[in-house]
Symmetry: C2
């Protein structure tokens, strides 16, 4: 199979972790007889530095032509102190999501037996956790009209959803639930927000098309609690953009394996795969960042974008092996044990595929 | 001192836990030579049943005339399945907050040494946690314009803040920080929302008036993570209404003592004290609900509404004593130990004051 992949390394440790994901993907492709064409493109702070905007048109064209996008991380401390600066890396991210129509962010949270004690939660609380958030990614308060009135003294952000937007996200949620334990939780704040009431009534109306799926409706504040108390009681959760931002991040730390969590953003024109961690600027160039989340994102890409499940499973298997044999970067190395470099982990995975 | 207190017992277990708080407050008043006048009033589902609205005008008048309001809990399962029902208990809550001008919700999260093992978090993560959220309670997306367009196919909720609203909440935050460890965290989403940028610039401009306070600015998603990872790294946090709803609930479960957490809502006309737990309908009338959060809310009332710190400390001391001697309701009773009834806990506290 010919795989045409846009490669957006981004900022900070992005290029280093992407490098290892490319190594491992190329090795898998070789083994399974595929041919990958990687087309690199700029995004984030490095794009601002090079061409003045965080998501250049050229990058967009490359993404649109590709079968899938593999993404590293963006963000640079020089943009951190002033969230109102006119040009910022995050704007590139939002523009990219919107222009690529990436309306569903798929964020699994699961545990690795060998890492369970890294969780801030007690073992009995976290064990067995295996949930997936589907976060709506191109609507809501992120993209509604926003601005100032009264000479700058009043600010507003409008949250808007259409029924069609809810339906296409919820459809993915029902479909995903059908491939898993058939439990779907719709997270909203329908006791206060009109957009949430639209979410809830839309999902309720879809229930009849998926009679096997058991749907529950929970308020966002209740979910924020239960995620800490009994994360293993959830399976598939669907939610709007801002709630998803907060809850997926909350969920990511409970596993104790945040540095390992992959994600996908899927949509109309293409799909994008990225680790959930950030650009970790302090570690830039040190060859110490953990590449596993990016490598597991590549695995998601093989499975979901190309339907290559065996390839994805081969990547996951060798990642599990590296974890149980302690071939890990310093963030995961046990006390006194050797910490491997970013590139050493990639090399080991390739050698052990 | 004469203390004129409105008593809003509410629904479910509300009346039972309020009853014990009244007992303990009366005993304290007697001991310290105060005279409390309690004026009961209806709110919540019971008010809907009695007079058709969840926050009757008469209740509002009673609250306005009182020096403080002690509140139980509201909510009834018959209103749970349809968040778009025309009359709902929550509307009473929102109306009450707005009409009483209760713009700052004060939500402490702290630990009790004897209960630390109830936390879903590991001991080393939760130990020493002592933080307070100040949640803005009468603005933002809760109270902005909301509705439908396009024949119901599009829903919107507008989030609005004025600089003055941010200032009065932030002022309370700075003042509270001055009485504690002088650390203030402003929680926002200034990389995406205009209202958050207004929050941030307003708080930044106030920093010079409180040179001793160290202010940090964190995005809401980052706080949702760090609250689980290192809750003991926070002190005072200020935030807008919706973020506060989600984060205060998340914070409340990490302590393992949710059933014990008090809260205050302070504002222009009066202040209101209530446990953070809900109306727990399944336990209604069983005399098993834990009254301590309500009793500790009464302690907050003595201290903050009336400046009666010795009285508040006396309540807290006897509550601590009940905890360490195991005079607790079934939610806190250790395996095999006797579980006390709601009223027995109240009686014991009065006897041991
Ligand atoms: C950087 C920021 C704009 C972004 C978001 O809020 O969507 C990030 O937090 C994320 O979740 O991908
Ligand atoms: C019941 C609901 C409207 C309310 C809120 O969202 O403010 C509750 O969750 C709270 O936090 O007091």
């Amino acid at each position: 199979m010919k795989l045409n992949i846009a490669l957006l390394a981004g900022d900070g440790i992005g290029p280093e972790v992407i490098n290892e994901a490319v190594k491992v993907s190329d090795a898998i492709a070789k083994k399974f007889n595929h041919e990958i064409t990687w087309t690199p493109a700029l995004t984030g702070a490095c794009a601002i530095d090079a061409v003045g905007v965080p998501y250049p048109d050229e990058t967009h064209e490359i993404c649109m032509k590709a079968d899938a996008v593999l993404f590293g991380a963006i963000g640079h401390p020089k943009y951190d102190n002033d969230p109102s600066a006119p040009v910022r890396p995050e704007q590139g991210l939002l523009l990219m999501r919107k222009k690529l129509g990436l309306f569903a962010n798929v964020r699994p949270t699961f545990t690795f037996p060998s890492l369970i004690d890294n969780s801030p939660l007690k073992r009995e609380r976290i064990e067995g956790t295996d949930l997936v958030f589907l976060r709506e990614l191109t609507g809501g308060i992120y993209f509604g009209e926003k601005g100032r009135k009264d000479g700058g003294e009043t600010a507003f952000d409008n949250c808007v959803y259409t029924r069609a937007e809810v339906q296409r996200l919820a459809k993915k949620g029902f479909e995903l639930a059908m491939t898993r334990s058939k439990k779907l939780c719709c997270v909203d704040k329908a006791n206060v927000l009109e957009t949430s009431r639209l979410w809830r009534e839309t999902v309720q109306a879809m229930e009849k098309d998926y009679p096997e799926v058991t749907v529950s409706y929970e308020f966002v504040d209740a979910v924020a609690m239960r995620l800490v108390q009994w994360p293993n009681s959830y399976d598939v959760l669907i939610t709007e953009n801002l709630f998803g931002d907060i809850l997926t991040d909350e969920a990511s730390v409970i596993s104790g394996s945040m540095g390992l969590m992959p994600s996908a953003s899927v949509g109309e024109h293409t799909s994008l795969y990225e680790p959930i961690h950030g650009s970790y600027p302090q570690a830039t160039g040190l060859n110490i960042a953990n590449p596993l989340a990016t490598i597991l994102s590549a695995a998601m890409m093989f499975e979901d974008a190309f339907g290559l499940k065996a390839e994805a499973d081969a990547i996951r298997a060798v990642v599990n092996k590296s974890l149980s044999e302690g071939v890990v970067t310093e963030d995961l190395a046990s006390k006194g044990a050797k910490a491997y470099k970013t590139s050493e982990v990639g090399d080991w995975l390739v050698a052990n595929l």
